[in-house]
């Protein structure tokens, strides 16, 4: 039997992290945008062992401060795209409020690290979520467009085409052909 699954939250990763750190007797506090603060210093000798135990789950400890900040921005963007309610303010002031830096500073660091602007990144993860929802085939295109806060189905389909170079119906056709093993 084949089934599709999607994973849209950090929860599984955090559960794994808690289990692994418990093995080393490390207690910590969890902050809501994807970082942990340990209650004691981690001995240098433990660090690489902890890294190793996390590696098989593709979890990495980020050392670089800029990279950290970029990861926190990404986590918030995922949270926005994958949650049902959209922030009431603009994306730029929402990020600035949550992270305590000016949007100009955040967008500069983000672009330097990822080679892509925050806006482009949001469009990319929105489009990815749309693709997953189309593959799951449980809700209509109109519902997907509403869920992802597009102003209209027309705007959604235009942005999909712009981002992928193919239309929504071409995407569906390709997915069906792939599913049927039609290579």
């Amino acid at each position: 039997m084949k089934f599709h699954f999607s994973c849209s939250s950090l929860l599984p990763a955090i559960t794994v992290l808690e289990d692994q750190l418990a093995k080393f007797d490390i207690s910590f506090r969890r902050h809501d945008d994807g970082y942990l603060e340990t209650n004691q210093d981690i001995p240098e000798a433990y660090r690489s062992r902890i890294q190793d135990s996390l590696e098989k789950y593709s979890i990495r400890i980020i050392d670089d401060e800029r990279e950290c900040l970029v990861q926190r921005i990404k986590n918030i963007l995922f949270e926005i795209v994958y949650s049902k309610k959209q922030p009431q303010t603009t994306l730029s002031s929402y990020l600035a409020d949550r992270l305590g830096y000016s949007y100009g500073f955040l967008s500069g660091i983000f672009a330097a690290q990822t080679f892509c602007s925050i806006e482009q990144y949001v469009i990319m993860i929105k489009t990815e979520r749309a693709k997953r929802l189309i593959i799951e085939d449980e809700i209509s295109l109109k519902e997907i467009s509403d869920l992802l806060a597009y102003s209209s189905l027309g705007h959604f389909s235009k942005q999909f085409k712009k981002c992928t170079g193919i239309t929504l119906s071409e995407f569906r056709k390709i997915i069906i052909r792939r599913k049927n093993g039609d290579n």
Partner: protein, 159 residues
């Protein structure tokens, strides 16, 4: 097989590895020149193959897989479509993106190759600036997918 390395000190250790298989030597040269011009962005490494056989043989023997392979469609000995089929049958290469790089922009070629597991379809542009632009777009998007750990199965880009 030739190697081109590009330097960037911003993210040492993060290097994007790219393979190209194209039987036309002019096209290979143009591709690598365009590739060199986008050095200000990503740190990259390019390996060139003169045909599909060479590419497949290398893929089967190496442990250093590329992030993305550019495949010409019309090649003697082993066509781009045959390479695509062979690569996509091997689960080891699931994480490798495949870009079709072709003079054809027939709708059937585009749909067939996407259905066959290609991630990117580039209609060979007729001018150098367009090629640079397309290449930059492909490499950046592929990098985002890679760095975000997103599923390659739904990575599509048609330029």
């Amino acid at each position: 097989m030739a190697t081109i390395k590009q330097g960037d000190t911003r993210n040492p250790g993060l290097k994007m590895s790219v393979f190209l298989a194209d039987d036309d030597s002019d096209d290979r040269t143009i591709f690598s020149e365009a590739f060199e011009k986008i050095r200000d962005d990503l740190q990259t490494e390019l390996l060139l193959f003169e045909n599909g056989l060479e590419l497949i043989a290398h893929m089967k023997s190496t442990t250093e897989l590329p992030h993305i392979i550019f495949l010409d469609l019309n090649m003697p000995l082993k066509s781009g479509k045959e390479c695509l089929r062979e690569l996509r049958q091997d689960r080891r290469f699931d994480g490798v993106s495949i870009a079709i790089y072709s003079t054809s922009n027939a709708a059937s070629d585009i749909e067939d190759t996407f259905s066959g597991g290609a991630n990117v379809y580039i209609h060979k542009p007729d001018n150098f600036d367009q090629l640079k632009k397309a290449l930059r777009q492909v490499l950046k998007l592929n990098w985002q997918f890679h760095m975000t750990g997103m599923n390659k199965e739904t990575f599509f880009l048609n330029i």
